[in-house]
Symmetry: C2
Subunit: 158 residues, 2 copies
């Protein structure tokens, strides 16, 4: 599995199209292989984060299939450049998105794996409450808020 | 790696000593091997969650060393019984604790891996803010709150 922690510190690079992303690769002296282009096309084809497996499977026939290990390597390269970021949604695999195009934060249900996406401002009250207790500046775009969704909470009697 | 998701739904069993835990194993028809006893001794020897590796390494000489794969298997068995639970602290390995003995919730720093432990009531205002936005009942004992600690937040200028 890819260790992406360090790369999170890199500045996020905004690219508006596959071609702009390709240009960014070239600027850094990186080869623009067909495999790399496919990953970029997948990320631009959707506005929800994708797993490496979904990209390798061609996101339901929208792009050609590719090799999952290669997808992981290329996502890692893109994350090091600041083009891509990842989010951990519970116990599942990390999901990947364009670094700037999808500035969402997430709340996940540990029981049924439901995921809700929010604009960051919608969670500012949560952030303020965390700051009051701990002094930490919380963010939920990388490690989401976790708990039980209303349905699962009802079922548990909590 | 152990898939522990399903086991989280099991009720937590309170045991006050290694001997009570051993009794719980016997009640479920499980063999009380030396390896299993070592894992229980490790969990009772500290009030902070431990990684399987720390347990296998003998928690700094406090118990004999053992095999990490065996430690994982036994932790899984104990979690299925409700004796043990795990917490994900960022990108690192899961940590394990007695299910009832350490009812803490956690805030982690994504940058420097700092971890702060809180009594659940200390994070009730955060929980209320999450409930207001999403209706979710948040908990931070399994997937912690994540963000940047005051020092790292200062360094980032956020």
């Amino acid at each position: 599995m890819v260790d992406l922690t360090a790369s999170r510190a890199r500045p996020r690079v905004r690219v508006e199209s596959v071609e702009e992303a390709v240009e960014e690769l070239r600027t850094h002296g990186l080869r623009v292989s067909a495999a790399r282009r496919l990953v970029l096309e997948a990320l631009f084809a959707t506005d929800t984060p994708l797993s490496a497996r979904q990209i390798a499977d061609g996101i339901a026939g929208r792009i050609p299939r590719s090799d999952v290990a290669s997808v992981y390597r290329n996502l890692e390269t893109f994350e090091e450049l600041g083009l891509v970021r990842h989010v951990h949604l519970g116990h599942g695999p990390s999901l990947f998105a364009l670094a700037h195009a999808n500035a969402r934060e997430y709340v996940i249900c540990e029981s049924c794996d439901a995921v809700r996406a929010y604009e960051p401002t919608q969670l500012d009250a949560v952030r303020a409450a965390v700051r009051d207790v701990s002094g930490f500046e919380a963010r939920f775009d990388h490690f989401p808020l976790a708990g039980h969704c209303p349905t699962c909470a009802d079922n548990r009697g909590t």
